[in-house]
């Protein structure tokens, strides 16, 4: 049952297309993350759902009812802003009570709900304080509390963790996940950080330049990206891409060649559209590359020259060059070193390879 439905929504600002025809839906209780680079339209899309901006075309439905032109306050939507947007001249309790006061909820009920929310978010000691007396993390929790109290149908988060330092971010991520489990409310979360997307989402919507690139579970996006953009966006460090030439085309496999890889066979389902001599993109995730290739699995060997190595404590990140100038980055377990300019041999299991055509679509 579609709880949130977005149908052909577009948003234009004069000549600039911020959102160009997006359609998607979410089930009740789902945690959907909109992710993408800056300017991709994810925040705009969220603001359209909230009603803070008018759509240029398309419709939006929440819980079966069309809300496309409805005022924000009437949509049953609560939002947590990037800057928290707490009312500066009200204390925490008043901040959290404001929404309920506006719809004339009886004082007793307001008190009850606010106290419950405060308990969930561990804000009990801060109730009389003003926003400027709170730390970033505390303000964040108050912003969430303000949203919870209204028992909304839809929870929106607009890059809520960007203003927090790294340690706090990890902690708050856990809090938000826990909250989702406890409340079971449908949540839409916007971020540019793919780690947040991968860890929190039931489903991810990848956006670029106002359009949807792919929608899927984190696993789907990781294993089966439909194009090089999604493949490069998900996963950190970014996927390596190496151009390979098609030497032979067989029904179930392709014979490909690359200066650093030599000639090799790669099993593939869709070889029909490929012609000999075409150049394809081979995708290799840094975390799948190994230093000493395992002889048991089908592995592809890559000849590279080492540039430098970053020691991350328990793992090492190798920055290398292949013979044709392609950059190859490998994330390897354990502490390793290599001299600049020394030759290395990396290996990767054939099953872990990704293949994309010249337009960047997955094969």
């Amino acid at each position: 049952m579609e709880f949130l439905k977005i149908d052909g929504v577009r948003k234009n600002y004069r000549d600039v297309v911020a959102v160009g025809g997006v359609s998607l839906s979410a089930r009740e209780g789902e945690f959907v993350v909109f992710v993408g680079p800056s300017g991709c339209g994810k925040s705009t899309l969220m603001r359209l759902i909230a009603g803070l901006e008018e759509v240029s075309a398309g419709r939006i439905y929440i819980d079966g009812a069309e809300v496309t032109h409805q005022e924000p306050a009437k949509r049953g939507v609560a939002m947590v802003f990037q800057s928290y947007a707490l009312y500066p001249h009200m204390n925490v309790r008043e901040n959290m009570s404001f929404g309920l006061k506006m719809i004339k909820t009886p004082a007793k009920e307001i008190y009850q709900r606010v106290s419950d929310a405060a308990a969930i978010l561990k804000l009990e000691e801060l109730m009389e304080r003003r926003p400027k007396e709170l730390s970033g993390g505390q303000r964040q929790r108050v912003a969430i509390g303000r949203a919870i109290v209204r028992k909304p149908k839809l929870f929106l988060f607009d890059e809520p963790l960007s203003n927090l330092d790294a340690e706090l971010r990890g902690e708050m991520r856990g809090e938000i996940a826990r909250l989702h489990k406890e409340l079971g409310v449908t949540m839409v979360y916007v971020t540019h950080d793919q780690v947040e997307a991968m860890t929190l989402a039931d489903r991810i919507v990848v956006l670029r330049a106002g359009l949807v690139e792919q929608i899927g579970t984190p696993a789907d996006l990781y294993d089966k990206p439909i194009n090089t953009f999604v493949a490069g966006f998900i996963g950190s460090p970014k996927m390596n891409f190496m151009p390979v030439d098609v030497v032979e085309v067989h029904p179930q496999a392709l014979r490909l060649s690359h200066p650093a890889l030599g000639l090799f066979n790669m099993p593939s389902e869709r070889t029909g559209a490929v012609s000999v001599g075409a150049t394809l993109s081979l995708g290799l995730r840094p975390e799948h590359l190994m230093l000493s290739p395992d002889a048991l699995l089908d592995t592809l060997k890559i000849q590279v020259t080492s540039d430098y190595v970053e020691n991350l404590g328990g793992s090492s990140q190798f920055y290398t060059w292949a013979a044709d100038g392609s950059r190859v980055i490998a994330l390897v377990q354990g502490r390793h070193t290599a001299n600049k300019g020394s030759a290395l041999e990396l290996g990767i299991a054939l099953s872990k390879l990704y293949l994309f055509d010249a337009q960047g679509h997955a094969l």
Binding site: A50, G51, L52, E71, P72, A73, K74, V77, A78, M79, F81, Q82, S83, Y84, A85, L86, Y87, P88, H89, M90, F98, G99, M102, I103, P131, K132, E133, R146, R150
Partner: protein, 311 residues
Amino acid sequence: MTDPLVADATTSAPAQRAYLAHGRWTPMWFLAPAVLTLFAIGIYPTLFALVTSLRKYNLTRARDGFPFIGLENYQTVLTDSTFWQTLWRTARFFMTVMPVEIVLGIVIALLLHKPGWSFTRSLVRVSLVVPLATTYAVVGLIGRLIFNRDFGVANQFGNWLGFESLDWLGSQVGAFAAIAMMDIWQWTPFCALIFLAGLSMVPNEVEEAARLETSSYFALLRHVQLPYLLPGFTAMLILRSADVLKLFDMVFTMTRGGPGAATDLVSVYIQRVGFRIFDMGVASAQAILLLILTIFISRLFITLFYREIDA
């Protein structure tokens, strides 16, 4: 842009850095020219006024000399009912125009703040400086024409609305109303601009958060925007009260303080005592008293508005 109401907690630290890398006398070189000039033009005459106020100084009776008479002038002034009436009249003027200017100012500010019709809004915003740049004396002249009984538009508008023609500038109440209206015309834009500045300091996201919690325009105004309008409101009150004490040009050209004493505001009155009746001693005493009042007002302004100048 940081929200001043929230950012305080985090911005105090850097301001403690000291700047003692200059010589002790350097500030003086930079300040001296300005300070000396002001001293010569400001302090010196003020002292002179103080001295004059302590003497009998009537230019039309110069042959009586200018003997020192101590605080007698002050006594004359403080027991002069005309003086108190003038002050009261000025206060009444203030209380008449201020509420209108503030309310209209807020309304205009809200209209200019609300998104939409951006070309018209810019046009209005730009036109707001017209009343402020218009020579006050000329404003009085225009006022005289507008409120003329026979060929003034004020009566024409009144007639269209069904009212009878009034002799505005000939009647006490009419003249007072006329100068009030011209003052409102001239200063409402200033109020509007100040309030608009206050409104633009409301962080967008706070306004949006409120829009998600209430559809009521008035609730938004009261709970979210009002705190940001309050500093502007207080500034307005103080600045305008100082202005009302200064008000001369427009009233002078429009009514000369009449009819009778209907529009005799403080500055107009003192000017008459000093330059028509030529009783400089008394006028100086009046001026000094006015000065004291003004200093009180500006002290108030600084205490409320001046942020740490020693940052």
